[in-house]
Symmetry: D2
Subunit: 337 residues, 4 copies
């Protein structure tokens, strides 16, 4: 059961509501967002509580929710979540492209890439400063130095930037530079990291774990939402299957399903999803056709020089060409780009 409080409810009033909720045998989970506070009543559902609680002046409404993802699901909130990052609207009618190199490696190259993806149609610049690598001996990212280069790219292009955070100790540092923080597939169930990011006042994009069910993915988003952060983007990036031609199997069906179950914007990463630049374009078209709200695409001016994920990076001309086709597909399904 979820108890939604009116905006501007004071501390005392809230405690009074919590006391009443507990009197029915529930425990209370408090989730304080920017505009409203939601109290999760955890326990065996008791129908008679509704009338009692809705009689309290601080209570806007009481909702019984059957899905385990209380705040991420459509039961509590039917309308889509839409929010702005700089001038870019996420979750709205316009498809949003986030593009750029996998990792920030060289300043000149990165700034060139940023300019080119902007020209090609990207609305947000991506790049990795902290890289989760299977091997401790692989390039681990430029760390804060990389974040500074990304901030320069933002200056240069006027576009917001998105980058991954993988370390609880660097949450603050990353948040200082990034406009959107990204949680990688390997950290989707790093619950303590999620709770910290949930307390930030910055949007978070959460990738689906490579063997996470759609329900587990929404539950990971629930960790962010229930910690107070309502600006959450879901991102499908391929699941692990027996197939070996692709790096992962990009689960396009996760797009309509996540959108049906949740009000959150759903993005797709076709680069990690396939592992090969040749398949990025058809899978991007497929993602938008299936209803994705945006894409996260790796674009690198010199993929053969990349220290990380070169084989799956588009060159800027191919990216621009793809965007042209993408416009037609977006239009066909009632969206714009």
């Amino acid at each position: 059961m979820i108890v939604v409080l009116h905006g501007g409810t004071g501390k005392e009033e809230m405690e009074e509501v919590e006391k009443r909720i507990k009197s029915f045998g529930y425990s209370v989970h408090r989730s304080r967002g920017e505009n409203k506070t939601i109290l999760g009543a955890i326990g065996y559902p008791r129908k008679e509580a509704q009338a009692v609680l809705e009689a309290l002046p601080a209570v806007e409404k009481v909702v019984f929710i059957s899905q385990p993802f209380k705040l991420a699901g459509r039961e509590l909130q039917q309308e889509k979540t839409i929010f702005k990052v700089g001038d870019v609207e996420i979750g709205g009618p316009k498809i949003v492209l986030m593009a750029g190199p996998c990792a920030v490696e060289d300043k000149e190259v990165y700034l060139q890439a940023a300019l080119e993806v902007k020209k090609g149609g990207a609305a947000i610049i991506r790049g990795g400063a902290f890289k989760p690598r299977t091997s401790p001996y692989s390039f681990q990212g430029l760390e804060e130095e990389g974040l500074k280069i990304m901030a320069e790219a933002r200056e240069l292009t006027g576009l917001p930037i998105i980058t991954e955070v993988m370390d609880q100790h660097s949450v603050e540092t990353v948040a200082r530079y990034a406009d959107i923080l990204q949680v990688g597939t390997r950290n989707m169930q790093n619950f303590k990291l999620l709770q910290e990011l949930g307390r930030l006042d910055k949007p978070v994009l959460i990738k689906r774990g490579m063997s996470a069910t759609i329900e587990e993915w929404l539950m990971a988003a629930e960790y962010l939402l229930s910690s107070g952060n309502s600006r959450v983007i879901l991102c499908e990036r391929g699941i692990r299957t027996f197939e070996t031609y692709t790096r992962n199997t990009l689960d396009i069906s996760a797009v309509p399903i996540a959108k049906e179950l949740s009000h959150l914007p759903v993005f797709v990463d076709p680069s990690h999803g396939t592992g090969k630049w040749k398949w990025v374009s058809p899978m991007s078209l497929a993602a938008v056709a299936a209803g994705a709200d945006g894409l996260l695409v790796e674009v690198h001016p010199f993929p053969e020089q990349a220290l990380c994920d070169g084989p799956q990076s588009l060159v800027p001309e191919k990216f621009a060409k793809m965007v042209t086709t993408l416009k037609g597909v977006a239009q066909a399904v009632g969206r714009a780009l």
Copy 2:
């Protein structure tokens, strides 16, 4: 190594070529199609054989092929395979829709469905007379009775029909009625059945096994091709993964990959791929956006009465509505419908 013979090569000439191939230590696999004969030379590749064999008047060309799928791959044949079934061109610029109920259950209902899917935009009528069912106690199909009803639907609509064959003993019966024979996911590696179908003069649609790699799927097509049948359609229908929200995980990335590796037309079955009618439409759009040559869709006028796969069947109005959107997507990617 593949030795392609000129059209109209006689028996004696062919045997002469085979003798020469064997003299290099190869064994010979003969694949006689309608228009040309191809001799597969199986064994350790010997470069010097090429000049010797190409000197023979019956030999058109000698091709060394590195992929295991010799005839299905793009190395031997670069241009796409296009063929006609009745008036319908498969593999050409136009997207082909095959639609109809999962199983033939009731004549009235089936004929009504056939008319409605034609009206909605289908070019070929689908239906099952022999049904592979997990349980021996489930409805197994009307068998020949069902085929007769399908033949009536063909009369009524003027459209070709496609149906599944799952039994070596009924190959002839099914071939007598059907315009295209379908091999189901559970029989993708029923090699003896494939060899029999490969000797037929009827097109065959082969579904990907639910845990088959793309390579194994192409190798299954190779069984058909190497037995002499060149009119083969590949059909992706979802693979088995850990996800439980969908019946299978429809692997849209298999579409661009199969089309890159093979010249054969590639179709997608979004009904079995998702298991729920709600997701059939977005996944159909995704499939076409990704390059599919056609779709195989379950449509049933009264899904709640279906003995088999009701929950994944579209009603005719929803099918017609989907086709409208599909036209826009097809156009955006340079196809028609």
Copy 3:
């Protein structure tokens, strides 16, 4: 609902029972075994039918069954299925080893292998005459010639033989030679083949499909049982997962689960399950520790010469050594070998 008839029930009496079953709205599935006949009443369960039917003299008992595998499950038959093949008891307290080369390729080698595995402790000789191969260009087996060699091995050793049948047209041929017929992983859901084998008077070993759930595997066994064959052996042989170090992931947990759900004997094939001879021995020990009733092991005197599956074949000395350790494990879990 299952209606078990007394042994020796005549045709007329049986038809009388069937008529009464149908009067309750059921359809009837007749399963005639060697000793008793079982009538499956398919439809919505009606409790009041029990008393009426049990009053008929031909009816031994009426059982309501909730599992979908009516005959393979423990609800109808609690005690383990035990039967003899020649002198070998399958499903009894003694662990049964079936061993030999993957394919019959050369008579001398095969007969030598047969003698050696007998010496090493095998009770049944295995070998393949019809081989399901991913590629149409791979060695497909010696066919009937191979069966003849296997029959010679039986003569020589006095042990029963087991071999695979993969073709509906060769069921009779294989049944003429083999003591046990094997259904391979790719044919586990070749339902028409299963129904034919179900009508034979020969035991059948059915391998789990490489992506079959345990329930689907038991339902495949149900096809055999419901066609009248009660001498069925289940064989776990590895499932398809994302792991690439092994050819398949041998699902040892399927052993205790299948034994809990079903009364049928459960075997394990550690050779296909791992794909490498080095891991055959530890996995054989694990299988027996987990409760397997027997093993199906590939043993080849010259694995490096094998046309098929050499890398996963044990040499006879390693097989014999493994059997020694196996005896200790069998004893520890209350079995013998």
Copy 4:
């Protein structure tokens, strides 16, 4: 290439060696363990470096390593890693049982459980104070309060304790109480956490990620080893597959493979691996038969009251009974218990 230094090499000498390594174009990864220091030379292998470097007095040996897991693999260290935790030898001939409730929930119950598992044969007490839960609304553990109860259990039984750490901020706290720190399946690729644990002077048990390949699992161990911690235990706990009867598919074959590739001790968790207490016993027997060095088993005196993972917990009597059979299996494979 790995450069092993003599014990007691001073800082200056080490820097001299590093300078020489770099002169060949390598970058250097320093891994300082308790007894010896290993310098990883990352880059293109140059054979001529070996003689030059081995001439330096500080260098014990230079090893070229082809596997990506340099320190975890058998190439650098052939003999098994054996170490002591309190009086308990890990990785030696004796099988080590770690047992106890999933989570610490109630002091009385936990202490009772600790006494009972000791009586039953456990050498180490397990329990969770910080619990990674799919839902933010589920019981998240007693945190430090739970650790204190575990410390009491150690007092009471004289046995070492193992518990999970899932939060970078609580590494120190957990390390203050625990004798072994456990990394859960969801954090196997939480690389920053691994690096922190690698710098501790406490043994770490690392569970295989539920969709991690064996190679990725060893690479995760490599993160621990290359950060300086050589007391690492690998623990297989089931992988995610399509099967739904079990919570996970316990990959017993990972045991012989991990032991072949690595010198580290390999444990198995049959409780999470199966999800049901009934299958814990057969899978424990299988694990030991396959060569496991130990088990991590959930035992709870009142499973029906457990807030977490009750269905997969053995009651103490069943645990004790299992240990009896386990002794026989251990003996059969040349181990003791």
